[in-house]
């Protein structure tokens, strides 16, 4: 790996230098862990549930072609329209065409990561359409002009004073420093938008192939409003977001909310099968399901296939020490945290993202928490080997590891090198430490350990074939 890009370094510095934010993110992770642990303990046998989710997801992804065909058929049978978008551009253009054909001036959106991935909002805004994010967190970051900070908590980094300032600007007056009052303000603004929007756009948490049902989990009711009040509902999903049927939906759904927010279930779980039927009291006149590939199908049948089994609960970020240190925006991607470090380079290519797989201590906290058992560390390691393979033969890391491998095969040479290093160390340690550029990142914050005057192997050999060592 070459040096980290300047943009990444700057964003890391911004977050690591902000003590309040550091404490905020750390406290959030500790809270999230308590909530998650309690929700899992209540469920009982969490490891068996994780096995069940992993089995459903891996099976679905392994047979994705069949389940996609079935899902598409069933959506159409229920009266919905389906569009398969190979690329982000195709998806954007198709959605824009629907919005244009309806003469829509205002679109309300329920939370959706894939619409952020394909850059939908700017495309619609360019057409003169007003786009309103209705998830409270998404609304906040839309006002601040930022990408989501976290897969399930888009405004995780925003604290009360900032939110108050953003809302006050919309209100045109200074709003009170009070959570209830600020939430009530957002509710008032958004309620009006729901009632006057021409089109509602949502994501899809899970699609049920057997019935062509789109399942949404939300806590604020905005999902239900966005998908039932406007006359047109457009649901946007990645191709992999399926489960075979309702019995298989159950474990995935319960683990999604428990892992994501520590809830048994979110306040609202919406299951949408087709547009409004004649007997229904509400619902949209038309339902469009836009299924986005955008690089996903290229992972099928490769060593990266299991990256597609993620259920987007965001709990890998909630456990990741690197995430809490650098924050969501440092990933410079819609997707942050360990899964972001995996799928950003996979979906968007290694160029510009080659440092992300290295933004991990490989501590395995994400692996231990992931409800779908996505092998995050393994995937990061695979990506690292792809990055290493791209590095030039003369890169310093490559030369270093090749040299070290050669030493590993020559224990006597290694022993000699240790003896030399041990003998030279007292003199070397007196030098200003900056002389060794490779070690500067270490010595910037830590003392360097000393090379032992006599290595273990020398002491051992000195004890003649393994009598009790005399100490060093």
């Amino acid at each position: 790996m070459t040096a980290t890009p300047a943009g990444f370094d700057a964003l890391v510095a911004l977050t690591t230098g902000d003590e309040d934010l550091q404490r905020w993110l750390h406290d959030y992770q500790l809270d999230a862990k308590r909530w998650r642990d309690a929700a899992m303990a209540e469920l009982g046998a969490p490891e068996a549930w994780r096995d069940a989710v992993a089995a459903v997801r891996r099976h679905t992804v392994a047979h994705l072609d069949e389940y996609l065909v079935q899902f598409v058929d069933k959506v159409q049978e229920a009266g919905g329209e389906v569009f398969l978008a190979a690329t982000a551009t195709e998806a954007r253009e198709h959605i824009a065409a629907i919005v244009r054909a309806r003469g829509a001036r205002r679109v309300v959106k329920a939370k959706s990561m894939v619409t952020a991935e394909i850059g939908l909002n700017p495309a619609l805004e360019e057409m003169g359409v007003e786009v309103v994010e209705t998830d409270l967190g998404e609304y906040i970051v839309q006002l601040s002009g930022e990408p989501p900070y976290h897969i399930t908590g888009p405004a995780l980094h925003k604290r009360l004073p900032e939110i108050r300032a953003l809302f006050s600007e919309v209100a045109g007056e200074e709003l009170p420093d009070d959570v209830e009052a600020l939430a009530a303000f957002a509710r008032r603004v958004l309620r009006d938008r729901f009632l006057t929007a021409d089109v509602g756009i949502s994501g899809v948490n899970l699609g049920v192939a057997a019935t062509g049902t789109v399942v949404l989990v939300t806590n604020e009711g905005n999902g239900r409003m966005s998908t039932t009040l406007p006359r047109t509902h457009i649901a946007v999903m990645g191709i992999e977001r399926l489960v075979p049927d309702w019995p298989n939906l159950a474990p995935v759904l319960t683990m999604l909310t428990r892992a994501g927010t520590g809830e048994r279930a979110t306040t609202y779980v919406s299951a949408i099968t087709g547009p409004r039927r004649s007997a229904d009291v509400d619902g949209p006149d038309e339902l469009h399901v836009v299924i986005v590939d955008n690089g996903r199908s290229a992972l099928l049948g490769t060593k990266y296939q299991n990256a597609l089994t993620c259920i987007r609960c965001g709990c890998c970020a909630d456990t990741c020490p690197v995430y809490r240190t650098i924050g969501g925006h440092a990933y410079q991607s819609v997707y942050s945290g360990p899964i972001g470090a995996v799928i950003t380079p996979l979906l968007d290519g290694l160029d510009g993202h080659a440092h992300l797989p290295f933004a991990s201590t490989l501590c395995g906290a994400c692996d231990a928490a992931c409800p779908a058992r996505v092998p995050l560390t393994e995937l990061l390691l695979e990506l690292r080997s792809d990055v290493a393979a791209r590095e030039s033969a003369t890169s310093s890391w490559g030369l270093g590891f090749r040299g070290f491998a050669a030493l590993s095969e020559r224990p006597r040479l290694w022993g000699g090198a240790l003896a030399a290093a041990g003998a030279a160390w007292p003199a070397v340690a007196r030098l200003p430490l900056q002389w060794l550029r490779l070690l500067a990142p270490w010595t910037g914050s830590r003392e360097l350990p000393a090379v032992a005057p006599r290595s273990f192997r020398r002491i051992w050999a000195g004890g003649r074939g393994g009598r009790r060592g005399r100490g060093c």
Binding site: C363, A388, G422, R468
Partner: protein, 236 residues
């Protein structure tokens, strides 16, 4: 398994482990052809280089009945990654067999030797950093605490947020130094909060990281591998 860091920087830890194992009646050998398990290369994406180191390792320990490592992450490299690294090659069976008989030091004491009492005394307040690979890849959870509990005079003070990474991560500490520095500072805060006199652990790379930061911050806490505590406190 002395590990390359243990050989070069911390021979006292290897000697302590040897002394404890011998005192427990184990015949200890150090196959001198061992150098490095290949973990750093593997975790950096250099798999061909890692395989070269690992092959030498496989040969070095071919005749060993059990392999005991003073580093949890090196043991995890063998137990967790060797089988995959050699999958489909002529060495696949050897790699699997070595993984089967490789143990981290505390794990070997409790799970293989079934140690339930230790003639050791160590008068100090001691806290423990679990180390991620030892905890999550090897599943070594309460083994070190059980061993510390057998030491007379030792007051064990649990570390808050003990499952959190110290920020070492091998070459991560060099490649992403600002992130690593922030994480090790968090860990040092937690370690100092315990008021312990000694920090112990099962992996010298993590302890080197935390210890290096402790010293930079001027803290006087001693940092010792569990084997050192047992060896120093051994009676009889």
């Amino acid at each position: 398994m002395i590990t390359c860091l243990g050989d070069a920087l911390f021979p006292r830890v290897g000697l302590a482990a040897v002394n404890v194992l011998r005192a427990l009646g184990v015949a200890v050998d150090f196959p001198a052809t061992q150098v490095c398990c290949g973990q750093a290369a593997f975790n950096s994406g250099y798999r061909a280089e890692a395989r070269r180191s690992a092959e030498a390792y496989l040969r070095a320990f071919a005749a060993s009945e059990h392999v005991v490592s003073i580093s949890g992450s090196c043991a995890a490299m063998v137990c967790h990654h060797y089988p995959g690294l050699f999958a489909g090659s002529a060495l696949e069976a050897d790699a699997g067999a070595l993984a089967e008989r490789t143990y981290e030091f505390s794990q070997f004491l409790t799970d293989v030797l079934n140690v339930d009492r230790l003639p050791a005394r160590y008068d100090a307040r001691v806290t423990l950093h679990h180390s991620c690979h030892t905890l999550r890849m090897l599943g070594v959870k309460d083994q070190p605490e059980r061993l510390l509990g057998m030491v007379e005079g030792l007051e064990y003070v649990p570390l808050a947020r003990a499952d959190e990474c110290c920020g070492f991560g091998g070459t991560f500490a060099l490649k992403m130094a600002p992130i690593s520095a922030s994480l090790v500072d968090d860990k040092v805060d937690a370690v100092l909060e315990t008021g312990a006199e000694v920090l112990t652990g099962l992996d010298m790379s993590c302890l080197m990281n935390i210890g290096g930061r402790l010293r930079r911050r001027g803290a006087r806490m001693r940092v010792k591998h569990l084997a050192e505590i047992l060896a120093e406190g051994w009676q009889g």
